[in-house]
Each structure stands twice: as C-alpha cells, then as structure tokens.
Symmetry: C2
Subunit: 175 residues, 2 copies
C-alpha cells in the first residue's frame, strides 16, 4: 500500500508548500555563486538534487538552503578543505536523515536509536574540532589583549614624561 502525497507539480499551482528557490536566488541569498553550489554538488558535498529530470533546473527547498548555508559557515569558520568538510558533514547528513525519519513514525525504535547514536558521534567530532579551534583563538585573543595593554602603558608613560618634562628615562610601569 502506498500513501500518495500529491506527487506532482508542487511549484506551479496553488499552495507552494516547499517554497523552492532557484540556484541563483540561493547563491545571492548566501553570498556566493551558482558555480560554487554546482561545484559542491559535483564533488559530493551537496547531494544531487534527487530525481531531477536530467537537464532541468535545480530547485532548493528551505532545508536544502539551510544545509548549504551550514556548509559555507563551517568552511568559513573552520577553514578546512572541502574534502575534510565532506567527512565532517556526515554529521549534517545524519541529522538530516534523523529529522526525515522522525517525521514518519514507521521506523522502529532500534533503528532510530542507531541513527541518533551515529549522529551523536558526528556531532562530537564537530564539537571537538570547534572547541579546539575556539581555544586556540581565545589564547590568541588573550595574548593580543596583553600586548595591547603593554603598548598602552608605554604610550601613557611617554605622554606623562612629556607633560611632566621628565628626562627620557626608561620604564614607567605605574598604572
């Protein structure tokens, strides 16, 4: 038996539930180019628009746009290669599938738990990477802050020396 959810034109007629966008619109929205999106699909970073009748325009619904956006974000923030991203994005894939499966409740709990565990593992991998990067950045930020303070102190020292017409003596570490 098959439940048929109005398999057909969802874009042209009355209630366009899945608000699809064309590749150019997505690109503009995300601040990138169609070429880049196609390229990501080409190397397997983005799934081929499923069942696209060969030579027809790519259409992206909200979830897919979000996914692309997430890809860009991770690339930008982690600065990893697209190849590394591909493995990292197993997380996104798993979560996407989980979301899809959770909407239909014909999946048995064991399979569900399995999917979730898998997703959890991927998330943990992402988290570890992100935390590491964040920690490095925090250290850099701290160091820069310290340097800034030192420089400021020195400047104040020089200004004070000029005001009070001190001789050009060194070090004034007084705050």
């Amino acid at each position: 038996m098959s439940v048929e959810p109005v398999a057909g034109r969802e874009r042209g007629d009355g209630a366009a539930r899945s608000a699809s966008m064309r590749i150019g619109d997505v690109a503009r929205l995300l601040g990138t180019t169609p070429r880049t999106i196609r390229y990501y699909e080409e190397i397997g970073l983005l799934p081929e628009a499923p069942a696209r009748p060969a030579g027809q325009h790519r259409m992206y619904d909200h979830d897919e746009v979000e996914r692309i956006s997430e890809v860009m974000r991770l690339k930008h923030l982690l600065g990893v290669t697209l190849e590394e991203l591909k493995t990292l994005l197993a997380a996104e894939d798993a979560r996407a599938e989980v979301r899809a499966q959770l909407r239909r409740d014909d999946v048995d709990p064991d399979r569900r738990r399995e999917l979730l565990s898998e997703a959890l593992g991927h998330i943990d991998r992402q988290l570890e990477l992100v935390r590491h990067r964040a920690a490095e950045l925090a250290r850099l930020e701290h160091e820069l802050g310290e340097t800034r303070k030192r420089v400021k102190r020195k400047i104040r020292g020089l200004e004070a020396a000029r005001e009070g017409s001190f001789p050009p003596s060194e070090e004034m570490t007084t705050l």
Copy 2:
C-alpha cells in the same frame, strides 16, 4: 677576492648573541618546509633576510623565527589569504620596529610615541578580527552543544522506552 678579517668565525655579528638557525631547521621546528619560508619571503610576507650577501644562506635569529611562527599561526587561525595577512602583519612589523627602536635610546620620545600609537592601531585591527571570529565560533559551539543535548535526550528517551514498557520482539542491542 676580498679582504677577509677575523669577522666571520661564528654566525652572526660580533657576539654569539643571535643563535642563528638555517632555513631547514626553522622549517622543521615550525612544522613547515623551506620552500614555504622562501615563498613567504618571495611575496613579501617575510622581510628579505637583510643584507644577505647575495647567494648566501639565509640565517634566522630568534626574533625572526618567532615572527615566522606568528605568521603561520595567524594564517592557521584566521584562515585568511597571504595577501590579507600581509596587511594584517603591519602590526607585527610595527611591533618589531618598536622593539628594535626601544633597544636603542637615541630615538626621541615623540617618534617613539608615534610608533607605539601606530602599533596600537594595528593591534586593534587584529583584535577586532580575532574577536569577531572567536564570537562566531563560540556561537557555533553553543549551537552544536544544544543540538548534542537534544540528541542525547532523545536517545535516553528511546532507551528508557525499551527498558520499561514494551520490549521489542527480540533484540537487546549492546550499549
């Protein structure tokens, strides 16, 4: 050829102060390659080893090694192009010059303050960039953490359901 006084015994100037390293050693120390270091010099990211007698080996003292290290670190953490790095590193340059100038005290205080102010500006630019990046990363980390929590809750929910109410037909999977 030329006159050769007692000058060139140990590497560096008169005193053995500057413990110079050769390019290969620096590369190994920093986990990179000689080619990369030469390339950075080639595009102006690193200053040409000053007054290197044309065709002689590059020698790097402690400060220069630190600078190279800092370049790598910024590149890694900020993920910017080497061209952007070049402008960012005006900060490093300024600070290097400040350090150099502060060692000699024949510089008048006004000039000194000027140098320091300049350095401060560059540092602030770096800081702004770093902070922005850090904030983005923090947000990502938070989001990932939240997602993780949700997934974990769901898993626990499923496990509890299996333990308690109705056991599934047969399986008791591990973990």
